[in-house]
Amino acid sequence: MSEGMRVEPDLNFIKYLKSAGGDSVKKCFQCATCSVVCPLSSDGNPFPRKEMIWAQWGLKERLAGDVNVLLCHQCGDCTAYCPRGAKPGDVLGAIRAYAYTHYGFPQGLAKMCSSGKNFPLLLGIPMVLIGLLWFLSGGMHVPSVEIFKEAGFGHFFGEGKVLGGLLTKNVAFIDLIFLPAFAFAAFASFKGATAMWNKMSTSVNANQDYRPSAKQFVTEFLLPSMVETLQHKRFNECGTNQNRVKGHLPLVLAFIGLFIVTNYAFIVKDIIGYFVEGLHGPIAMGNPIKILANISAIAMIVGVGILWANRSNTEESQGSSPTFYDWFLIGVIMAVGITGLGAELIRLLGIPSFAYFFYYMHLVSIFMLFFYMPYTKFAHMVYRTVAMAFERYRESGFVIKAD
């Protein structure tokens, strides 16, 4: 690195970092305290000292292919011990925000999700889309209290069956909105994660002739990383911001719980419901699945609430800048939790008009959470897991032998 490296700084990239919470990047004087106090930094490949100078120099390509940026959990120890107030933790957060946009597919959508200026659009698109389908479905009117009590939100997108009686109209509309949205987000994530993996492989000079099979990739690299993520092992090694685990863990468990509930509902209502009548009303409160759903909803609100408080504290105590990147995710998850639980409670109180409005906003916020997932902070779910898999790959025979 020392001999004859020509630095071609990308000034716009540096400007972007400064706007995305990395405003302190230029204060770094390369003392390397951060790399030593970081509980996640390894001996052979310490960070974030070198990432800081790459960021100062505007070397965005190098940073985009740097696994360490994603291994960082923003524990905050580096920021606490930094002698210059350069806040390496915040700078790496800003680089991650950049990376998600960089790898985002399609680019236009990714760029739209990277700036708070576009928030009206980000909110408006699902509001209009779902609103329009709601209008077209013919279900856009407040039901009577009696029908609402019996059917719940089952008539939100109208009554009756479609596709030759295959699905209820309501389920069909929900599937029509969300299945393509989920599929698209999954495809975009796959594309982004693949691009990142390839970039990282190039940056460590991995031997492209000798690559892991899909099975090896999953069993040796991906699954252990997912297990490690669920156990919050690295989070627990954090020093300064360690209490974020208290928010993140319930949140992750809530997502898993709600994933199970959604799949149950999908199977029961959309598949079994095809053969058996009467499965389309609300699930009874005593049903174990309903209990799981309610516990998960509360865990979600509590978890994201803790993270919310934590982020506010960090901004106050460490002087971190509030960023769209951080607050969009916290805000949307909070919205999903509040509108979901709110819709349920108002349904139980028997006020259809309010309940319908909450349900509509619930659908909008879920759409925002998942459709924009590959480009917002929520993308860490994909990219960090893949990066942790890459870290295992980097340490494995596939890369070491190539050197």
Partner: protein, 418 residues
């Protein structure tokens, strides 16, 4: 209460602090005919310089320089010198300050000849602060080998007034019931030469000072290397007296750090380079590693640095030590990232020296009487008020710079008192 007022309107100067800066200021002012009150908090003059083994870059002992100044002070009737004395309050304004001074009881009067008979019979011990607690002295003690004034002193906290020293003293020099004294002096201007303290190493939690005896500060290193120090100049590891085979120097320990001292303490790089010469002299085979952010050896000190950087026993690693781990064998492992290779370094050494910086020592005294300080606690000179800072009370500096700005402070004090 005694009144020791200089003749009204004579425009005396009060110099607070009797280290190299205070001595210089006092002498420069007195030798052009000003009346000077020179007060020192410690029982001896000479301040931090008296604790050094050698000056850089010429590597001469501090007796060179201090002794000449002591002689000049002794011979100059214009200087009235008080040890164990601090400022209590200041009233008045530029040109006519009334300053109340308080002198703690020394317990030993001017009859003392320094014969040491008292020490031989004293049953009580105290941690010797002159050697940073690395050895003990008796409750009655001589501050150090070349203490000036050459008078013993009693540590009031350690003394149980058993009276054995009084019996042993043939000169009636010991007064166990000596009382504190206050006096008021009239002066035209005040020079603060309150010096510096080594930054408290326990404040850097990650450097774990106190977790191992193998972690010392650079000022402790000076005492270990000094002929009158706790090990008579052999550099031995505190605790087990091992002759260290490897050393690590931890630069910027607390300096250039917003969480500690935000400024560069100026002397620590040169102090480390100097201390490497102590090591090379005593242990020619010892391995020395210096961990630094930048090496700052300004001006003529560059040559000194170049010579040591050419030494193949000494390794310089760019990267700040941010963790020190105590090891079972009594040594420590220092951890840093080598910013040139991009890899972490775990260096196991027998002795780690924290190059701690300078914290201005006069902050409490200055705050008490309302003297202006900058955000780091350095005193700001104000000619209009007749208040001046000299030496390290003004800024972190080496001895040469301190004596230069002390001479300047003396001139300003003279001008302000006309």
């Amino acid at each position: 209460m005694t009144d020791e007022r200089s003749a009204s309107g004579a425009g005396g100067v009060l110099v607070v602090g009797g280290g190299i800066s205070g001595l210089t200021t006092a002498l420069e002012a007195a030798e052009v005919g000003k009346d000077v009150f020179l007060i020192e908090k410690n029982p001896y003059m000479g301040g931090r310089v008296a604790q050094l083994n050698q000056y850089f870059p010429k590597l001469c002992p501090p007796s060179c320089g201090l002794e000449i100044n002591f002689k000049r002070v002794k011979n100059n009737r214009k200087i009235r010198m008080y040890t164990m004395t601090e400022v209590q309050s200041v009233s008045g304004s530029a040109g006519m300050y009334q300053v109340t001074l308080e002198t703690r009881p020394r317990g030993v009067n001017n009859n003392c000849t320094g014969c040491n008979a008292c020490v031989e019979v004293c049953p009580q011990e105290r941690d010797n602060d002159f050697n940073f607690g690395m050895d003990k002295s008796k409750a009655i003690y001589k501050a150090h080998e070349m203490a000036f004034p050459m008078k013993y002193v009693i540590d009031a906290q350690a003394c149980d007034k058993c009276g054995k020293c009084v019996e042993a003293c043939r000169y009636n020099a010991i007064e166990l019931d000596m009382a504190a004294k206050t006096m008021t002096v009239d002066v035209s201007s005040i020079v603060w030469a309150t010096g510096w303290n080594p930054y408290d190493p326990t404040k850097m939690e990650n450097l774990k000072y106190g977790s191992s005896q193998a972690i010392i500060t650079n000022m402790m290193m000076e005492r270990l290397a000094a002929p009158g120090g706790p090990t008579d100049g052999r550099i031995l590891r505190p605790g087990d007296n091992k002759e260290p085979e490897s050393f690590a120097f931890v630069q910027c320990a607390g300096s250039r750090d917003e969480n500690h001292l935000e400024y560069c303490s100026y002397i620590c790089c040169m102090a480390t380079l100097k201390q490497i010469t102590y090591i090379r002299e005593r242990y020619p085979e010892a391995r020395v590693t210096v961990f630094y952010i930048d090496l700052r050896s300004p001006g003529k000190y560059e040559k000194f640095r170049e010579k040591l950087m050419a030494d193949d026993k000494v390794t310089f690693i760019k990267g700040k030590v941010a963790d020190i781990i105590a090891e079972d064998d009594g040594g420590v492992t220092v951890v840093a990232e080598n910013a040139v290779t991009g890899e972490k370094v775990h260096a196991k050494v027998d002795l780690a020296v924290l190059a701690t910086g300078m914290e201005p020592a006069g902050q409490a005294a200055a705050a008490k009487v309302g003297v202006d300080m900058d955000s780091n606690g350095f005193i700001i000179s104000d000619a209009g008020k007749g208040m001046f800072a000299a030496g390290c009370a003004k800024k972190a500096a080496d001895v040469v710079t301190s004596t230069q700005n002390s001479t300047a402070a003396a001139l300003k004090a003279i001008q302000a008192s006309r």
